[in-house]
Every structure is written in structure tokens, then in C-alpha cells.
């Protein structure tokens, strides 16, 4: 079984023809940059051929669904596990009406870092299609093998939802297998927890100095969907516009706490950050604490209620 783009096209076309949705959101090839796929919306069945599904569909779609469905548009979404959970985050936050989205689940083999592939193996982009061979993506018909170990996007290394969950329909296409790169998703968190306290602070301070505070991490995040963000307010001025250790601490501390118990671990913040700030290490710390402290299983799966929106009488008390 190949990667089956025709199956994706056919289903998208059917949804549009049957008027189940007004538009389908997926990815398209960038005509200028061979390695890039950008989010793309198709409104007519005759144009589903513009959609693409291959190892280079890096952008997450969930945050776009939020704005697109605001006016009542019914949207079909090509959704990998991460996209689906992001959309569900927005549904539970009452930002997307459940009836306005139709989730077309795509089992995902993990996505490649397109620029790196382009730099190291540009001929890979001559492929007509792709197959998932577990540890490699294999181009059809050229037979070029791209090792995932080398080219997998950071966000996909840690993925636990290659099989799309909570979708309306899941396409029988390749992918969705167990992710061998994610044996211990809290590995980095544990490493940091074990550092002596001053070194922990130095670790973060080093990153604070690099963070440009461009807010790309916040803007791509499906859990960051507040009407107006406290970090943008002037009155009260939670976050000074000034950029220094103190304000960067506030920024990253606040961002992490505001997605605590709500983050779906889609890794989009990590992908969007131009300087590689380890946002995932903050998000996963929060997840780990949700598990450790409150016994939340799979803290990255959105639920009707959130761990920090409830309490238990026997919650641990560590304050002495």
C-alpha cells in the first residue's frame, strides 16, 4: 500500500460534492520552494488535486481552523493526530463548534524537515509518491530512502499520536505506526529536574537571552486561543514590553502555566520557534506534573474539563 494521495483526494472531493463541508483544509505544494508545503483551502471538488499529502506537510492546521470556522463555515480538515487533538482543544474551549468541523484522520508516519532534505538530498523532491517503511520514507518510483532518524522534524520525534484520534473518519492510508523515537517522552524533563537548581536557572537564562519574544509559539498554539492575551495587556501590565531575564521569565512561566493541562503536545510551538527554544520541555513538564500530582492519564488528550479547572480533596500538599 502506498501513501495513497488519491484516497485523500477522493474523500475530500466526496465531502465537497455531498455538501457535507463547504471547504477542505489541507496542504499544497509551494510553487517557489520545492521542500515546502503550506496550509491550503479547497472549495470545489474539481480542485482537490491541489492538495498534497507527503512527508513534508509540516504546518499544523488546528489554529487556522479556529479563525476559518468563526463565520460558520463548515470545514473538512485533513487531520493528523496532532491536528485532531488541536481541533478538539478548540472545541472543548468553545472556540470551534463541533458541527462545523469534519475531521478526516490521516495516519501519520512522521514529517520530515523539508529544508534539511532539500540541502542534503534535493533529488528526493522528484518523487511521484512516498511509501512509509517504518524507519525510512521511500520515494516512488525513484526508490530514494530518507532515514527518519536523520530527517524527522523535532516535533514528530516526540509524537505519541501518529494514529489520529477522535476523528469523524480515518483514511486507510500508510502510517500511524508506533513511534520508536518516543520511548520516554519525559526524558528531557527528567534530565532538567535532576540538574542542581542554579544550573537549571542558567539553562533557562541562556534560552531567555536567545528568545526574541516574537510570539510565534503563542500564535501557532491551539491552546493559546484567548480573545485577548494577558501578555498583550497594558493595564494591568502583566508583561513589560522590555526584554530581559525578569520579563522573559514571566513570559515563559505564564505561557507554560496557561497551557498546563491543556497543551496537546502537537509541537507546533517548537517548530515555529526560529531560535529553537525548548518550549516542549516546559510543556511536557506541565504534563508530567499533571500525571504525577493529579493522576491524569494522557494529559495531552483534551477533555471536557481540565485538570486545573477541578480539584480533589486528597490532592497532595507539598508546601512544607
Amino acid at each position: 500500500m502506498s501513501w495513497a494521495l488519491p484516497a485523500v483526494d477522493a474523500l475530500a472531493a466526496r465531502l465537497l460534492e455531498d455538501r457535507l463541508v463547504d471547504a477542505v483544509l489541507g496542504w499544497a505544494r509551494d510553487p517557489d520552494l520545492p521542500w515546502q508545503r503550506y496550509p491550503h483551502r479547497v472549495d470545489e471538488p474539481s480542485r482537490v488535486g491541489e492538495l498534497v499529502w507527503d512527508p513534508f506537510c509540516a504546518p499544523g492546521l488546528a489554529k487556522l481552523v479556529f479563525r476559518m470556522t468563526e463565520g460558520g463555515l463548515k470545514l473538512g480538515v485533513l487531520a493528523r493526530g496532532c491536528d485532531a487533538l488541536g481541533v478538539w482543544r478548540l472545541i472543548h474551549d468553545r472556540r470551534i463548534a463541533r458541527e462545523n468541523v469534519y475531521l478526516l484522520g490521516l495516519p501519520c508516519p512522521g514529517m520530515a524537515d523539508g529544508v534539511r532534505v532539500w540541502e542534503e538530498c534535493p533529488e528526493a523532491f522528484d518523487a511521484a509518491g512516498w511509501e512509509d517503511h517504518g524507519s525510512h520514507w521511500v520515494a516512488v518510483p525513484t526508490g530514494i530512502r530518507l532515514p527518519k532518524e536523520r530527517f524527522l522534524l523535532d516535533k514528530c520525534l516526540q509524537c505519541q499520536v501518529r494514529w489520529p484520534r477522535q476523528c469523524d473518519e480515518v483514511l486507510a492510508v500508510q502510517g500511524g505506526s508506533w513511534n520508536p523515537f518516543c520511548e520516554d517522552r519525559y526524558r528531557q524533563v527528567r534530565q532538567l529536574e535532576e540538574l542542581p537548581l542554579p544550573q537549571r536557572f542558567d539553562f533557562w537564562r541562556g534560552w531567555f537571552e536567545r528568545c526574541l519574544r516574537c510570539f510565534a509559539c503563542r500564535q501557532v498554539c491551539p491552546a493559546c486561543n484567548c480573545e485577548s492575551c494577558s501578555l498583550d495587556q497594558f493595564e494591568p501590565n502583566w508583561l513589560e514590553r522590555e526584554v530581559g531575564v525578569a520579563t522573559q521569565f514571566i513570559f515563559h512561566f505564564t505561557r507554560a502555566l496557561h497551557v498546563a493541562g491543556r497543551c496537546v503536545d502537537c509541537g507546533e510551538c517548537q517548530r515555529a520557534c526560529p531560535v529553537g527554544f525548548p518550549l516542549g520541555a516546559l510543556n511536557r513538564k506541565m504534563m508530567k506534573d499533571m500525571e504525577d500530582l493529579f493522576g491524569v492519564r494522557e494529559p495531552f488528550v483534551p477533555q471536557e474539563s481540565e485538570p486545573l479547572g477541578e480539584f480533589a480533596l486528597d490532592d497532595p500538599d507539598e508546601f512544607r
Binding site: A246, A260, L313
Partner: protein, 144 residues
């Protein structure tokens, strides 16, 4: 970590209006001695305390933050203190993860009749902070 000459720890205490604030009052009217290191801010409920308050206090001069609320079951708003406990548990762990001594944040239950207890908490916390010394990591630069 060298402690400045003459330095005394400062504690910002967010006290719930219905229990702990009255408890602190009782400590005063009962003439119970306790360290003068505490600055009390009255809040309607311990659940009112935004974790950012904690960081802000540490950045602007406090060496420790105490959040004092009603005992579980006694909350004027039924459960505000229990939400606060969850939130501040996570806050405390995140502070530690980002390199701030977790002992600088404490949550405790003090009822209106527990003046002694309030004094004891402040005493304990002052002792802990004396050992830790002033906050080194987060102080913002002041004007020259």
C-alpha cells in the same frame, strides 16, 4: 551565596479576607510576637492569587511568598482554596524547574482563630528564607 550585611528576608503574604487575614489580626491583638518580615496583602480568597503574583513579588523585592487561606471545607466560596492548592502546587514545581527555590512559595491554611498558627508559619518561613538568602535570579535592574 553571600548574604548582604544586615539583610532580613521579606515575605509577601496573600491572606484570605475571611480566615487568614483575621488570623493575622488575631496574632496582633493577642500580642503574639513574630518576625516583622511579613507584608500582608488582603485578597478575597486564596483562589484569587494568580501565579504571576508570586513571580512578580519575587522580582520586585520579596524573598518569599506566602499564600494563606481557609482550611479545606471552610472556604467562604466553598472551594476556592482547593483550586488554589492545585494551581500553586503546579506553580511551585514549575518555579523549581525553572531554577527558583521552591521553598520561597508556601501555601498554608490559617483560620480566623489561629493567630498562634499564623505567627508560627511566619517564623518558620523566615527561618527558611534566612538560610536561602535573597532572591538572586529574578531581580530586575533598577534605575542607576
Amino acid at each position: 551565596m553571600s548574604v548582604r550585611e544586615g539583610w532580613r528576608p521579606k515575605i509577601v503574604a496573600f491572606c484570605c479576607n475571611w480566615c487568614s487575614y483575621a488570623g493575622a489580626d488575631l496574632a496582633g491583638t493577642s500580642r503574639i510576637p513574630y518576625p516583622a518580615s511579613v507584608r500582608i496583602i488582603r485578597v478575597p480568597c486564596s483562589g484569587r492569587v494568580n501565579p504571576v503574583f508570586v513571580v512578580r513579588a519575587l522580582q520586585r523585592g520579596a524573598d518569599g511568598v506566602l499564600v494563606a487561606g481557609c482550611h479545606p471545607g471552610d472556604c467562604h466560596y466553598s472551594t476556592g482554596n482547593l483550586y488554589a492548592r492545585r494551581r500553586l502546587l503546579v506553580t511551585r514545581r514549575l518555579l523549581a524547574y525553572m531554577g527558583i527555590e521552591p521553598e520561597r512559595l508556601r501555601l498554608c491554611w490559617v483560620s480566623a482563630s489561629e493567630g498562634e498558627r499564623f505567627a508560627k508559619v511566619i517564623e518558620e518561613m523566615t527561618a527558611v528564607l534566612e538560610k536561602l538568602g535573597p532572591v538572586q535570579q529574578l531581580r530586575e535592574e533598577g534605575p542607576p
